[in-house]
């Protein structure tokens, strides 16, 4: 439970402090501008990407061959400034608000980011009131950290990650979060924490190694889709949380899938949850 409090508090703090307050107040007239920047891979061997995006529609996808990054921003210049800083190793990109109070409308801008497929990349994504569509498949991600505020996020590893990832972290605030094909993550460990919202974690894809998943859930529902061929062991430490795992066998505080002993790939899940519901579904 200590972890739970830590993650939940952390997620809320991330949402509250990382971004300016998003208020539905009247703002001055919008001044739409575009900002585009691209860079060839050149001699860049590793890339450390930090993205901060406050409000709007955010998309990420793998770039063209030979391209290090390509970013297209459409933003309201009356509220934001574009940010782009590359020092040869580290890329900081996104928008910077003029004040803490920004006005969010239906048309809050857009950011499209293409990242290199070939260059090993550590990726940190922080976004606030954002609708995010993230396709991180077929990249070479060595680390991944996704932190969302009040967002609606779909993250898809549409193709296997080219690099072995030590760990991936998803910190979700008050959000709807859907992660697809996490089997393509190619990671040793996945840390997931969520404050309030509906979360779907789909572990389809090509499993190349075992995976350890730590889940800390506050209020909300969590649905995990796990392929039938994967052996699953679930440790649950929860308070007022329902668990629906019809295909698993209970053994004390642990639950096992029937194929745990003979499965080629295994997944260990530690759940620390309160006031929510958890469903474990097996998929073909």
């Amino acid at each position: 439970m200590t972890d739970l409090r830590h993650w939940t508090l952390g997620a809320f703090l991330a949402g509250a402090l990382a971004f300016p307050a998003v208020l539905p107040e009247e703002a001055s007239a919008q001044e739409w501008e575009t900002f585009s920047s691209s860079r060839a891979v050149g001699d860049v061997a590793r890339l450390d990407v930090r993205v901060r995006y406050g409000a709007g529609h955010f998309r990420v996808r793998p770039g063209k061959s030979g391209e290090l990054y390509d970013v297209r921003l459409e933003y309201d210049a009356s509220q934001f400034d574009p940010v782009l800083d590359f020092d040869g190793r580290r890329l900081e990109i996104g928008t910077d608000a003029h004040s803490r109070n920004i006005n969010v409308k239906d048309d809050a801008g857009e950011m499209m980011l293409e990242l290199s497929r070939e260059v090993p990349t550590e990726l940190l994504l922080e976004f606030g009131a954002v609708r995010a569509d993230l396709d991180l498949g077929d990249m070479t991600l060595s680390e991944l950290d996704v932190q969302t505020g009040a967002s609606e996020t779909t993250l898809d590893f549409s193709a296997p990650n080219r690099a072995r990832m030590r760990s991936a972290e998803f910190q979700v605030g008050a959000a709807d979060f859907k992660a697809l094909n996490l089997g393509n993550l190619n990671a040793d460990r996945l840390e997931f924490s969520a404050g309030v919202g509906e979360v779907v974690l789909d572990f389809g894809g090509d499993w190349s190694q075992d995976l350890e998943v730590n889940v800390a859930m506050g209020l909300g529902s969590l649905e995990m889709h796990i392929p039938e061929g994967i052996g699953v062991r679930l440790n649950k430490d929860s308070f007022l949380t329902s668990l629906d795992a019809p295909s698993m066998v209970e053994d004390g505080d642990r639950y096992y899938s029937e194929n745990w002993d003979e499965a080629e790939r295994r997944m260990t899940i530690d759940i620390d949850a309160a006031f929510g519901s958890i469903r474990i579904l097996r998929t073909r």
Partner: protein
């Protein structure tokens, strides 16, 4: 002189500011410098391009708030919204889309707008020189030539494709308008294949894709027509003309189509509608021409077919009318005979009555509706009137026409033609059919003659004759029906009516000389007038009845009100009387109590006794 010196100093300063860039560009023109990063910032008042080169240098050129800035230094001014800004914005926007090979070419090939002059032209020329100076022009030229060669090879038809295209000529014919508008000076055609126009490639002309697909990353300086295929517009792609789609799909991922995208299914639908209208116009025109008797050499088979169809239609009419005639003679033979007798013996009179009656049908119909509406109570009967009156007129017309046909059949039989042997004088059905065939004969013969173009005049004459005969037969028949009231009245019913209605005119003049045409006309008019009179009379009667009913109802209501008023008066009288009585009683009681009280005060124990009961003190 001072002005000259100040200009000189300003020019020297400007040259000094540009010197590093210009000298650098000149010195490094021979180096194979490449762009490693580009950044474009576009806003309402700025369009800035930042380039980073492989040798570590960079170049920032921007039009910002009326100033031309190079590497952060203002080097001149431009007209906001003018030709230079527009051209520069177009170039800068393109740089976002171009790949690393084509970006230098686009920058080097950029030329300032020709309409610039003065300072604007000078500063634009400097930007142009700056761009050209930063790249290896030989490499750029080689790249341009390679792209031009590649562009020249694209979309050239081979033999198989030509044959395949022939099979789709009908589709192209249907899109004639669109195809004709396309620039065919250098038309590129792809049939049943895939065409990719790569980034940087520019096609000078139009592109036609049939049963194939097009991937456009470069530029087409013309129109694109895609039939039964698909087109993908990639980021940075451009079509300067129109993208026409016919049963085709487009996936636009950031391409620009200056002339817009047009879905030709709509165009085809409009075209089909036009064709349909055109065909209809032609048919109508031709029918009119046939009716006028003009030659119809261009379509003899159609003329034969049309004539055959018309003859068939006429025969069907004869059969239907004959069947109705058989039914009428079977169920109302006596009536039909009476009508036929009047039509035969008083043909002229019946014709005039029929024409007059026909003319009065509509007024009587309307008058009937108005009359029923005026009576209020007759309003529900309007519906019956509207339905039954036209039906009655139709039946009357049919009866008369068939009766005349029967008479015509008798006449035909008496001519003893060989082809009338099937007609029996004792069989009214055969007589009716005989008459109907006689009435239809001009039409049938006319149609047959109409097949032969130069006999069209005769056809017209026969049609007019047939039409006149039919109208006359209908008029005589309708008149006979009116005169005999559907075959129920004797032949001189009209005379009796006139004698009765206008006795002053003398029965001799109205009832006796029916053979005179003048009398006949007068009688016909009188018959028609009688119908109107009867309708008016009926309306009057109904109005009178309704008035009477209303008067009675009003009287009854008045009496009822009177009765109620009397009852109210009685009740009021009773109430008043009751009140009076009550008041009198109260006054008497008060007087009695006052008297008792007065008497009580004259005795020492009087008031104490009163105070224990309901004495006046409490009141």
């Amino acid at each position: 002189m001072r002005r000259f010196l100040s200009d000189l100093v300003a020019g020297a300063l400007l040259a000094f500011a540009l010197l590093p860039a210009l000298s650098f560009g000149t010195a490094s023109a021979q180096e194979a410098r490449t762009v490693v990063a580009r950044t474009v910032a576009m806003g309402a008042d700025r369009a800035r391009l930042t380039l980073e080169f492989s040798d570590g240098s960079d170049l920032v050129v921007g039009l910002e708030g009326g100033e031309v800035r190079v590497d952060g230094e203002a080097v001149g001014r431009y007209e906001v919204g003018g030709a230079l800004e527009e051209s520069w914005r177009t170039l800068v926007a393109r740089t976002v889309q171009l790949d690393d090979e084509d970006l230098p070419r686009a920058l080097v090939e950029w030329t300032p707008p020709e309409e610039l002059d003065g300072d604007a032209a000078a500063v634009a020329a400097r930007i142009d020189a700056l761009m050209a100076g930063r790249f290896d022009t030989a490499t750029v030229r080689a790249r341009a030539e390679a792209l031009a060669r590649e562009a020249d090879q694209l979309g050239r038809l081979d033999g198989l494709e030509s044959l395949a295209l022939l099979s789709r000529l009908e589709v192209l014919a249907g899109l004639e308008d669109v195809v004709q508008e396309m620039d065919d000076s250098d038309l590129r055609v792809v049939v049943d294949d895939h065409l990719e126009i790569g980034a940087g490639i520019e096609i000078e002309g139009s592109v036609l894709v049939v049963d194939g697909s097009l991937d456009l990353l470069g530029t087409v300086r013309g129109d694109v027509l895609v039939i039964d295929g698909s087109v993908d517009l990639h980021p940075g792609s451009r079509i300067t003309g129109t993208l026409n789609l016919f049963d085709a799909e487009v996936d636009n991922d950031g391409g620009e189509v200056a002339g817009g995208i047009e879905v030709l299914e709509d165009v085809r639908r409009d075209r089909e509608q036009e064709l349909r209208s055109e065909i209809l116009r032609e048919i109508r025109s031709e029918m009119d021409f046939d009716t006028r008797g003009g030659p119809n050499w261009s379509s003899p088979f159609r003329a034969i077919g049309g004539a055959f169809g018309n003859i068939l239609g006429t025969l069907v009419n004869v059969l239907v009318l004959g069947a109705l005639g058989a039914a009428l003679f079977h169920f109302a033979g006596q009536n039909m005979e009476s009508v036929a007798e009047v039509a035969r013996d008083s043909t002229g009179r019946a014709a005039v009555v029929g024409l007059a009656g026909g003319a009065l049908v509509l007024p009587v119909f309307i008058l009937g509706i108005v009359g029923l509406a005026v009576t209020i109570v007759g309003i529900p009967a309007i519906l019956l009137w509207v339905l039954l009156f036209p039906a009655a007129v139709l039946v009357a017309g049919l009866m008369g026409y068939l009766a005349v046909a029967r008479n015509l059949g008798v006449w035909l039989k008496r001519q003893r033609y060989g082809f009338t042997d099937w007609i029996r004088m004792t069989n009214p059905v055969t007589l009716v059919f005989g008459g109907l065939f006689a009435l239809a004969a001009p039409f049938i013969v006319g149609e047959v003659l109409g097949i032969v173009g130069f006999l069209g005049v005769l056809e017209v004459l026969l049609v007019i004759t047939g039409f006149s005969m039919s109208v006359f037969a209908a008029a005589v028949g309708f008149g006979a029906v009116l005169i005999t009231r559907g075959g129920r009245k004797p032949e001189d019913w009209g005379a009796e009516f006139f004698t009765r209605r206008w006795p002053g005119r003398g029965s001799g003049s109205w009832g006796g000389s029916w053979k005179s045409a003048g009398d006949t006309a007068q009688e016909a008019a009188a018959t028609a007038t009688e119908a109107v009179w009867t309708a008016t009379e009926a309306t009057d009667e109904m109005t009178t009845e309704v008035d009477e009913e209303i008067r009675e109802a009003a009287q009854e209501a008045e009496e009822a009100v009177h009765d109620v008023a009397e009852e109210i008066d009685e009740v009021l009288d009773d109430a008043e009387e009751s009140v009076h009585e009550t008041l009198n009683d109260s006054e008497a009681e008060l007087e009695r109590k006052r008297r008792e009280y007065t008497e009580g005060t004259d005795h020492p124990d009087g008031p104490e006794t009163e105070s224990e009961g309901e004495g006046p003190a409490h009141d």
